[in-house]
């Protein structure tokens, strides 16, 4: 199966500033891909280049093997939901959704009916005649989604659409967007800087940093097998420790903080002796105890801060200058005190090795 959307060597410079280095990406038809990265990492620029609002300095973009190069935004048949929804304030919900059909010369009667069907699909039956200002943030979001989908676009682009919503509503909309996307099977690119959003919604996550793609993989792969130190640090909470490989064959490394560590997580890159590496251990893979635990690798730390989240807590301690984060069940936290010294332990398959 060949890729539906393909970006080949896409480069974008503004004067002497390189916004996008060299982007290669392939997206399958019907796939839900999230562009994740800090602000200024190039994710929105890539989206704007696909939409046609920015021209790529170099490289090519194709949809179903058709180049987009000479197509104006109007001709690309791409649905976009903007960060602030960009609803027309003078048009009702139904008129907003009808707009792209109107531009495609669909008659008013038929178009409005289709718009109302679409509003029903996004859960807004009965709100067709409201103006945007008479709708809540979540409802406006749904109208924007309906409007971007009503003309059966080849691609759906979502530019941080949930940024303005509060937490509960945001989770609700995540589920809702995913449901609608699946039902219509539209190829979707979702831009966000929120990693939980990326984790929960995507078939695949593309992590951006400094105008380049750090890694493009399924959410769990990104979490458990990050390709670079940046990805390991950016996604989830992490303990990143410097180490030197001592015995590549048996996966042993020497860390100034942890001592000798055996690494055994699946998907490890090939190692060589004396190679400088970074070890990744996720906080939930560490266990705290008063005494060293048998059958596990142990080290000792002093507890500095305990951050309580109710159902769980993060215990932050340090070994020398190195900070260590351990996630523990909420119930365990009552026996811990700041300033206590304690042991933390892990198993070999919790240790993932990154190239320096």
């Amino acid at each position: 199966m060949s890729a539906y959307l393909r970006l080949a060597g896409v480069n974008k410079t503004f004067g002497s500033f390189t916004a996008l280095g060299h982007i290669d990406l392939e997206v399958e038809k019907g796939e839900f891909v999230t562009f994740l990265g800090p602000s200024g990492s190039g994710k929105t620029t890539t989206l704007m280049v696909i939409a046609g609002f920015e021209q790529a300095t170099k490289g090519e973009i194709t949809v179903a093997d058709q180049s987009l190069a000479h197509l104006a935004p109007q001709e690309r048949n791409i649905g976009i939901v903007f960060q602030n929804y960009a609803l027309f304030p003078h048009k009702t919900a139904a008129e907003n959704v009808y707009f792209p059909l109107q531009m495609r010369k669909v008659g008013k009667k038929q178009g409005i009916r289709k718009a109302e069907e679409m509003l029903e699909l996004v859960g807004l039956a009965g709100f067709a005649h409201r103006l945007p200002k008479e709708l809540s943030g979540g409802q406006q979001q749904r109208v924007a989604l309906a409007r971007a989908l009503v003309f059966e676009p080849d691609l759906l682009l979502l530019d941080e659409p949930l940024g303005a919503l509060d937490k509960n509503l945001r989770e609700q909309m995540q589920i809702e967007i995913k449901r609608i996307q699946k039902r219509l099977g539209v190829t979707t690119i979702f831009v966000t800087h929120d990693q939980t959003e990326a984790m929960s919604m995507s078939d695949r996550i593309v992590v951006f940093s400094n105008g380049a793609i750090e890694q493009a993989a399924a959410p769990l792969d990104i979490y458990h097998r990050p390709a670079t130190r940046f990805v390991a640090d950016f996604i989830g909470e992490s303990n990143l420790l410097e180490a030197t490989v001592t015995d590549a064959a048996s996966g042993k490394a020497q860390s100034p903080v942890l001592g000798e560590v055996t690494c055994g997580a699946e998907g490890l890159p090939p190692l060589t002796d004396d190679q400088a590496v970074t070890l990744l251990i996720r906080p939930e893979h560490l266990k705290l105890s008063r005494e060293p635990k048998e059958g596990r690798q142990n080290a000792q730390m002093v507890i500095e801060t305990i951050v309580n989240y109710g159902d769980n807590a993060v215990v932050i301690g340090h070994v020398g200058d190195q900070q260590i984060r351990v996630r523990v069940p909420g119930a365990d936290v009552v026996i811990l005190k700041e300033g206590d010294s304690c042991h933390f332990s892990w198993t070999a398959d919790a240790v993932f090795v990154l190239d320096k």
């Binding site: 939409a51 609002f53 104006a72 935004p73 109007q74 001709e75 690309r76 791409i78 649905g79 976009i80 903007f82 960060q83 602030n84 960009a86 027309f88 304030p89 003078h90 707009f99 792209p100 109107q102 531009m103 495609r104 409007r147 003309f151």
Partner: protein, 282 residues
């Protein structure tokens, strides 16, 4: 204790009124009293009764002048819109710096006394002025009269009032979210339909604000039409001036003023119901 508390409470309710007093007295003395006096004059001079109003509302001369006033105000508003809209659009699309430059040019003319600007037009359009000279050079042996015509007074009023229109429209255009335009483009809207379905409705509040301001100011314009306009196409303010200065017909002049005032208020009232008067102040 109880006494001082109630005294304090009294003082508290009194304070805001005391603070408002200078302004209230000023408004009453310089606006309300004269206005009431005009109303009284209109029904007492030269003798009590509604004869003045009857004359104003039924006399053919007065009807003609009022119609002419509205016609001129409408024409000036339309011209201001035709000149102002593209200019405001230009300002909203060029760089901040260039927009400031244009704004400076507009406000510079705005700050110049309109008496000066009116005289400037007299010089420009006069029989020995540059416009007539240009026409003669181009081979028009007998140029049509420019000064003291509808053309000259309309031109000067548009010049004087256009800044109101431009600034109102520019303010609204500047606030339009660029993502609205982008989103319309992504849905397939091109130049003409983009303008008709999105840009024009979004700028409509600015058009309404500017038009109401220009129209209302124009209704009561005195100096410019009197100095530049044709005596046969008099406007209401000029006629009121004539009544009072030349015929000492205080009652008739007052009645006309009140009719003009009422009409203006009705227009503002309609505008208020549709858009909200507070929008006029941005």
């Amino acid at each position: 204790m109880g006494l001082s508390l109630s005294a304090l409470a009294e003082r508290k309710t009194l304070w805001p009124w005391l603070l408002l007093a200078p302004l209230t007295i000023y408004l009453a003395l310089f606006f309300l009293v004269p206005l009431v006096e005009v109303v009284i004059m209109s029904v007492t001079e030269p003798r009590p009764g509604l004869a003045n109003y009857e004359k104003v509302l039924t006399g053919s001369l007065y009807r003609k002048v009022f119609l002419n006033t509205f016609g001129t105000a409408l024409l000036v508003t339309l011209c201001c819109l035709l000149v102002g809209y593209p200019l405001a659009y230009l300002m909203s699309t060029v760089s901040k710096r260039a927009a400031m430059g244009i704004l400076l040019l507009i406000t510079m003319s705005f700050w110049t006394s309109f008496l000066v600007r009116t005289y400037a037009w007299m010089v420009l359009l006069g029989n020995n002025g540059p416009v007539v000279w240009l026409m003669q050079t181009l081979g028009i042996a007998e140029p049509p009269p420019l000064l003291f015509t509808r053309l000259s007074s309309t031109l000067a009023m548009v010049h004087i009032l256009a800044p109101y229109m431009i600034m109102n429209i520019y303010t609204v255009m500047q606030k339009i979210d660029p993502s609205l335009i982008r989103s319309a483009e992504s849905m397939g809207a091109y130049g003409k339909s983009l303008f008709r379905h999105v840009y024009l409705p979004l700028t409509a509040p600015g058009i309404a604000n500017g038009s109401v301001l220009v129209f209302v100011i124009c209704l009561g314009f005195y100096v410019t039409p009197v100095l530049l306009g044709s005596p046969r196409e008099q406007m209401a303010a000029g006629l009121i001036g004539n009544q009072i200065e030349q015929f000492l017909a205080f009652g008739l002049g007052s009645a006309m003023s009140i009719v003009l005032l009422v009409v203006t208020l009705v227009i503002l009232g309609i505008y208020h119901r549709r858009f909200g008067l507070d929008k006029l102040y941005g």
